[in-house]
Amino acid sequence: MADHPKDYLGQKMGMWLFLFTEIILFGGLFVLYAVTLQRYPDEFHEASKLLDTTMGTVNTVVLITSSLFAALAVTALQKGDEKKAKIFLLLTIALAAVFLVDKYFEWGAKIHHGIYPGSPDIADWEPGKQAFFALYYAMTGLHGIHVVIGMAVLGWIYWLIHVGKCTPQYFVALENGGLYWHLVDLIWIYLFPLYYLIA
């Protein structure tokens, strides 16, 4: 069977369609969040105070910067600078790791204080406060999983550039990997205010 000629636009379109599925996947949780916020505004307000806004802001900056590096990587490769592209990619992945480390400490602190779903320490909290944290863990957890997936995808693309399968002449793989990473950033852009800034 003949080799398909590569279809740059088609491959990008496919990636965007996949991103839509991720948006809708998180969207289901946003439905739950929106309704529960509307129902328990005061409890959400109270519960939000228990989150560390500084940590959240740091993580936002980390993710936005990692997104910058992902975008710069594409520009670098477009300009033919494979070396710089790889460096930018590594920086992207490094910042993703920083994000995860921060999250580890955040969650760790909360769990240490008994604030987690099913914990006996919060069993007598108001329902709205419990719901806030149930959704918090669900949404940041799902987001964290996607950060891990994103790191793996970006790492794989690093390898593709390294072995010459993603080149300045045909770099849709890097673009698509970047698109995935930007989506992870996008989701956090909404998670951050909804959890940390409604105190």
Binding site: M13, G14, T36, E43, G118
Partner: protein, 551 residues
């Protein structure tokens, strides 16, 4: 012997291990065939479960199984039929085989992703069936997995929903593949307004697959983590709301029924013009209706929830919107009938099945209005009226559409023709059977018989028995239909490229098509339903097959 004269096309072995070259194929036609065989196998499983249900309900009280077994049987019947049969059926089998051919393309946009979709289908199916034999046994929650019961049921809900998650992914990736294929791989001259209506139907369906299925994914994930981690997301004591589960579930599952019906409607739109030798009436209207159904179908999900406890406002809004979505469906029915008016009608089996579709789907659709109207729904919600409705539209609709596809494209796939008289007789038996099986359900529902009930008051016995007899008639019709097709595969009369005289691109290829599809990329110069200068092939003279000639 006859086989020696038949070019096996894409079926021809390539010299490698047979298993490897089928299980890891990236040829859309082979993938479509793999889907078709698996779907039909699961269909038989689903039918057997359905027959078991009807046997149990033949008499009040215990007939052939315990209550717990009964709950598991109807749950499994729903899960298998919906996720393993109906949703993939036409798109994954016939869409995979024929969409690229109708577009004049070599394959779909992402052939390896296509293979991956099939593997996800198999893995998801295996996982779902594993729930039968592990943990606390098969789920007894119904295929809708409502909380709170699904969160606490001791049966193996978690494994089943993981299977559903994987199956959802398969559906999403197929939809993604088809959208890019239709946008990017049309042959020269094949503008959007020259696409077949089957292609348009697959396009509309693909968007629903991509945009609605992820909600199912997150919903089943929430069930799984609820069971495993006890997060209390739907627990009112912890700020949750079980009605929100229903919202999430139906936000997918209502559009899912349009995933089920749109491809079938697309097939009907392709078949009717061929056998009336007339262009479809209102091509653009049907195209717009397909898109309108896809969109409007995403606005009406809570008509499954009129009695759930949601607000009166929602009840009224969703009831109103539900009436809107009926309009484009009705438009299509009128257009199909108008196509037949003054057409040169040939009552070949594909047309018979297509007409069966129109008749049964219209009947089912009308009862949908009773359900969509909140006032009447109050009385029939969760009764057998609902069961009758959805079986008419899914079995009488998509099911007949699937059978029509099989009878329409069989000669293209196998290069042979089945016995047409038996095919027609089977169709008629199935249609009679479906009526016998499901009309009593409308009456049962109106008389107050609840659905999913294992036992019932004696006054419902006669109607239940009628329905069970109908199930046997249906099973006989299905058996006859499958046996006839099976026989036709090896013993049917040989056919050429275009036995029906159709005008779409797949009929310009040999039967079966070669692996590489088109020798040269076709140039399209006319629409898909223009029959000037196109005639059905003469029979091939060399081999008339054995006595299985058509009547």
């Amino acid at each position: 012997m006859a086989d020696a004269a038949v070019d096996k096309g894409f079926f021809a072995p390539k010299g490698g291990s047979l298993l490897k070259e089928w299980l890891f194929t990236t040829d859309h036609k082979r993938i479509g065939m793999l889907y078709l065989w698996c779907i039909l196998a699961f269909f038989v499983v689903g039918v057997c479960l359905g027959l078991a249900i009807r046997l149990e309900l033949f008499a009040p009280g215990m007939t052939i199984m315990t209550q717990k077994a009964y709950n598991a049987v109807f749950t499994l019947h729903g899960v298998v039929m919906i996720f393993l049969v109906v949703i993939p059926s036409i798109p994954a089998a016939f869409g995979n085989i024929f969409l690229p051919l109708q577009l004049g393309a070599e394959d779909v946009a992402f052939p390896r992703l296509n293979m991956f979709s099939w593997w996800l289908y198999i893995i998801g199916g295996v996982i779902a069936l594993t729930s039968l034999f592990t943990g606390g046994g098969p789920p007894d929650t119904g295929w809708t997995f409502y909380v709170p019961f699904s969160a606490i049921s001791t049966t193996n809900v978690s494994v089943a929903v993981i299977g559903v998650f994987v199956l959802g992914f398969s559906s999403i990736l197929t939809g993604l593949n088809f959208i890019v294929t239709i946008h990017r791989m049309r042959a020269e001259g094949l503008g959007w307004l020259r696409l077949t209506l089957f292609a348009w139907a697959l396009y509309a369906t693909a968007w629903i697959q991509v945009l609605a299925t992820p909600i199912l994914s997150i919903t089943v994930v929430l069930i799984a983590i609820e069971r495993l981690l006890g997060m209390g997301i739907f627990d009112p004591a912890r700020g949750g709301d079980p009605i929100l589960y229903q919202h999430l579930f139906w936000i997918y599952s209502h559009p899912a029924v349009y995933i089920m019906i749109l491809p079938a409607m697309g097939v009907i739109s392709d078949i009717i013009p061929v056998f009336c030798r007339k262009p479809i009436f209102g091509y653009k209207t049907i195209l717009v209706s397909s898109l309108a159904i896809a969109f409007a179908g995403s606005l009406v999900w809570a008509h499954h929830m009129f009695v759930s406890g949601m607000s009166d406002t929602a009840v009224m809004v969703f009831s109103f919107l539900t009436f809107i979505v009926a309009v484009p469906s009705a438009v299509k029915v009128f257009n199909w009938l108008s196509t037949m008016y003054k057409g040169s009608i040939r009552p070949e089996p594909p047309l018979i099945y297509a007409l069966g579709f129109i008749f049964l789907f219209a009947m089912g659709g009308i009862t949908g209005l009773v359900l969509g109207s909140a006032g009447t729904d109050m009385h029939v919600h969760d009764t057998y009226f609902v069961v009758g409705h959805f079986h008419f539209v899914i079995f009488g609709g998509t099911g007949m559409g699937l059978f029509a596809s099989m009878h329409y494209w069989f000669p293209k796939i196998y290069g042979r023709m089945y016995n047409k008289r038996i095919a027609t007789i089977a169709a008629l038996i199935i249609i009679v059977g479906i009526n016998g099986l499901y009309i009593p359900m409308y009456l049962l529902g109106l008389a107050g018989m609840p659905r999913r009930y294992y036992d019932y008051l004696p006054q419902y016995t006669d109607l239940h028995q009628l329905s069970t007899y109908g199930s046997w008639i249906t099973a006989v019709g299905l058996g006859l239909m499958f046996w006839n097709l099976w026989r036709g595969r090896k013993h049917g009369r040989l056919v050429g490229k275009n036995p029906w005289g159709a005008a779409t691109l797949e009929w310009t290829l040999p039967s079966p098509p070669p692996t590489h599809n088109f020798d040269e990329e076709p140039v399209v110069t006319h629409g898909p339903y223009h029959y000037d200068g196109i005639e059905p092939d003469e029979d091939r003279i060399e081999d008339k097959g054995d006595e299985v000639n058509n009547g």
